[in-house]
Symmetry: C2
Subunit: 576 residues, 2 copies
């Protein structure tokens, strides 16, 4: 274990040398050519129009090796709808214009236009990609990015665990109503809430429980797109399951029946191994777990995805773990009922997993011992003009129509609110367990500007919603960075007390973290990646309703912006 | 009646002086402020997401006086979808960038952006507006433009008919499937056709026949948005009904039970009056008719809209004509069944109306006696890569992603196919009654370039579709111009024979004209409006499938283009 600034610096140098070596010796370019279009899909056997990549949802898995340059050529073949794609977990060091966040780092890609995303995958691990525009992610535009360790990698990079095979699992939730309808409902007065998902998907496949019973004309239970996913294992072997969650709403619990999981990686960072019966996973998170195929090989086993944190209204999402070489066939339905996961409202169960997730002893990157600035962020549900909104310190976020990156770098005036959002809230008196007495909020597209190289602490404070006795889990995702997760607590965060409880010894680095009901989560990072970075709840409806903020750092160090990210708002100057 | 070039010139001068007078004396500016958003609507009592203006579909009626400048400030509040709005029938003399045709005259307006359309309404008459992007028109974005005669207008402008009151009627057809689904179906292999409309709308209101019977959760038969439109009349008075059709697909027949209609205007031009029991009207057309309220005032009467030209699969669209002062109430349902219109497949009945539509004797603008160029355009249904398409001379039109107007005026290279599309087809041998032996076509975004000031004849030739014994009606709409309708015929047009049959005496000027099944329609206009102008079938699906062409004329005379129409394709140069 290293600690302190000097070792951190050495670590950074080592990583840099590592990269340079890779660049010379092995780094290659991975080309992807994507065509984005609306296509009819049957993820849960019910026909629905989906936003697809090359005709499919989820899209293809991007496979690369650490140090590779990934070049994704995105042609927008939608009819009237723009698109932008975010590479979730990739920090975009030196390429902030490739982060794919509409309104933050780029203008949307227009129908008929082609945009090329070029970025380096500088760390091995399990990542994802998805549309970052409107609610397109939930319309089907998402997938996985898997970055492997280069052959012969040094101890700083090589995986501190071994396995014989690998399976990839992308979890999702799915509605039959279009995202356009969902969004119109969210913006309506009063709000029209789409309700719980119709299905939970594993690798884009599920089964709507009422499909044939309802006599839906759009139901086709034999459609290959909703056939049950099968994960094959050889008895006695150990498998790495890379698991990511792209849910729109749901917090999930994932279980492989009869096979305890050893958690070894999350968001591209190695975890001090711990064993769970099942894994809580929030939207925007990834995990790697190891299982050993040591059960009776003459039957199959369930993979199960269950809703937690919200009262479930959706059937367990299932897939099959199939043993080779026994008496069962990969098509055999397991003889049991699928696992139903822990009690949906057992918050403590889930907090315990959060707390157990710390850095692997051989891969600790110690955080700076103190911060230069602390920002307290109250997450609350509010109202603006009768609309239901989410707000941070009573400010509900709206995206500007000129991307911040362009506006700030090229000094375009009047494109966003120049007043910075509040650094804190009334943290000495606010009753996080009560309904906010005055739920009216304001909206703003102002942003936080961080001194380049400074260390920032952010404490996310959860609270009660507009309805009494209700607080949800919010998975917050930071672009452009990983953050150290310094601590979790229940109730109101006290800046005079709780920082003393922070884990500065072996905190995990992550890009997405849960803020548990009525709880707080404390994060730290160094603002050393020039660019403009979104930080927001990864629940699609929550970000749509204002639950996010944006950070700028080192804008003056950003290189010349590509013309292709411009063309909207004040960044449309026509051609030259 | 005037005739010949000299009188035409004098007429033009007279019109110019007229305009100048108006500009000094009366012309004003009409401001409209529109917010475009997705909203739930109940046009036929079934809830459906619609693209709305200020929350409504249809949008507000624009009312102006000849010579006024109309300024429409359009804010796009859609989440991920762009928009562009066309002012159907307004020639945009001097303002070709305000025509609102995505890909032709402008880049689409991005979400969050505001675009200002400024144009002069230089002729009185009945016009419409609608989205001209993807299939957004059919998603609800449409409405009427009514341009009145200025008080004290001279005989060249004053209406050659009198009336006591006016009613406006916008006809439409309506589907429950979204336009996204419809478009995805059209592009699928094999084609997935949406089928006949669920409802016919009058002023945005209709009634889905199976609404409550089907037990649809989305059905609300008491929703005010689907209450029956009522048109009130005072006994003995004469009313002008301004009727426009915005149908996506349907050719319609409109009837006011018991009240013969005198046709007096179409597409902004005065018609030699003729009386019909009911009026055939095609998508993109407008008519004014006069009726006299001379029937029994103690009951109400139906307004009825029926499908013609296609085998109907949709209930008659209805509204109520209510007499004031009798014993009936405006809410009384007429005691009869609604008129069902003429036989849907009586093509002769419809051709006869077309032929009867000629210029009012006091408002004849004689066409040039001959043309400088004749273009023969075969309309055929074809296949490209297994997809069903429509093609013109076997070329299926695709829109470029850099607007022609910008590409041509500012000489941006490589933005469209420089090869002009064919001027003709094998008109001596083609069997318009047979299935095309080789239905494979090509696609292109090439355009026709017209010598400025030249006179062009265009003959639209209809033919059989991919299926035998089937030919549809295609209403073709020209942007930037009115054309003289010189003649209609059945069967194959023979350029050696049929021009001798042209009506050069009193042809009507129109902007939209029907090409009847297996027939041809001959048009003439002078290419004297600098700009780039679309000419296409006004059936939304047909234009989507390639049934259109584009003309350029006098591009060098177009003034400096506004920056706001740029930002897409090669016209995105970022900001300056």
């Amino acid at each position: 274990m290293r600690s302190g600034g000097t070792m951190e610096l050495l670590g950074a140098w080592y990583a840099l040398l590592c990269c340079l070596f890779l660049a010379v010796a092995q780094a290659k370019t991975v080309h992807e050519k994507w065509d984005i279009s609306d296509q009819f899909a049957y993820p849960d056997c019910v026909r629905k129009l989906a936003v697809t990549i090359n005709g499919h949802t989820p899209g293809p898995t991007i496979r690369a090796v650490q140090g590779d340059t990934v070049v994704v050529t995105v042609k927008n073949s939608l009819l009237t709808e723009n698109v932008a794609i975010h590479w979730h977990g990739i920090r975009q060091i030196g390429t902030p214009w490739a982060d794919g966040t509409e309104g933050v780092t780029q203008c949307p890609i227009l129908p008929g236009d082609t945009f090329v995303y070029t970025f380096v995958v500088d760390r091995p691990g399990t990542y994802m990609y998805h549309a970052h525009y409107g609610m397109q992610r939930s319309a089907g535009l998402n997938g996985m990015i898997i970055v492997s360790v280069p052959p012969g990698a040094g101890p700083d990079v090589a995986e501190p665990f071994a396995y014989d095979g690998e399976h990839d699992v992308l979890l999702n939730d799915w509605w039959h109503k279009s995202t356009y309808e969902q969004a119109a409902g969210l913006a309506a007065v009063p709000i029209v809430w789409v309700g719980e998902p119709q299905s939970l998907l594993i690798n884009g496949r599920g089964r709507f429980v009422n499909c044939s019973a309802l006599g839906l004309a759009s139901c086709n239970e034999t459609h290959p797109e909703c056939s049950t996913p099968v994960f094959a294992v050889v008895p006695g072997k150990t498998y790495r399951f890379r698991i990511g969650s792209m849910t729109s709403l749901s917090a999930l619990n994932f279980e492989i029946e009869g096979h305890p999981m050893t958690v070894v990686e999350t968001d591209g960072h190695y975890v001090k191994p711990f064993v769970v019966k099942n894994l809580n996973i929030y939207s925007g998170e990834t995990y790697s777990v190891l299982i050993t195929a040591d059960q009776d090989p003459n039957r199959n086993y369930w993979l199960a995805s269950n809703v937690v944190s919200r009262k479930p209204g959706t059937l367990t999402g299932t897939a099959v773990l199939a043993y080779y070489g026994g008496h069962s066939s990969p098509r055999d339905v397991p003889p049991t009922t699928p696992p139903t996961g822990p009690a949906w409202n057992d918050t403590t169960y889930r907090i315990n997993q959060s707390i157990a997730t710390v850095a692997h002893p051989a891969h600790v990157y110690a955080p700076p011992p103190s911060s230069d600035r602390t920002i307290l962020l109250l997450n609350s549900q509010n109202r603006i003009d009768g609309r239901t909104k989410w707000a941070i310190n009573n400010v509900s976020f709206t995206l500007p129509h000129t991307p911040y990156l362009v506006a700030l770098k090229d000094r375009l005036q009047g494109t966003f609110d120049p007043r910075p959002p509040p650094e804190t809230y009334n943290h000495t008196a606010y009753d996080v367990y009560g309904v906010q007495p005055n739920p009216n909020a304001t909206s703003s597209n102002g942003l936080y500007r961080l001194a380049f190289g400074s260390v920032v602490d952010v404490v996310l404070q959860n609270a009660n919603m507009l309805a009494p006795n209700n607080s949800e889990t919010h998975p917050w995702h930071l672009h452009g960075h990983d953050f150290w997760v310094l601590g979790y607590g229940v109730g109101r965060f006290d800046p005079a007390v709780h920082p003393a409880t922070y884990n500065l010894r072996d905190p995990i680095l992550k890009n997405t973290v849960a803020v548990h009901p009525y709880g707080w989560t404390a994060l730290r990072w160094r603002a050393d990646n020039p660019g403009v970075w979104a930080f927001h709840c990864h629940i699609e409806a929550h970000f749509f309703m204002g639950m996010g903020i944006v950070f700028e750092e080192g804008i003056e160090r950003v290189g010349k912006l590509p013309r292709e990210i411009m063309g909207c708002g004040s960044s449309n100057g026509g051609h030259h």
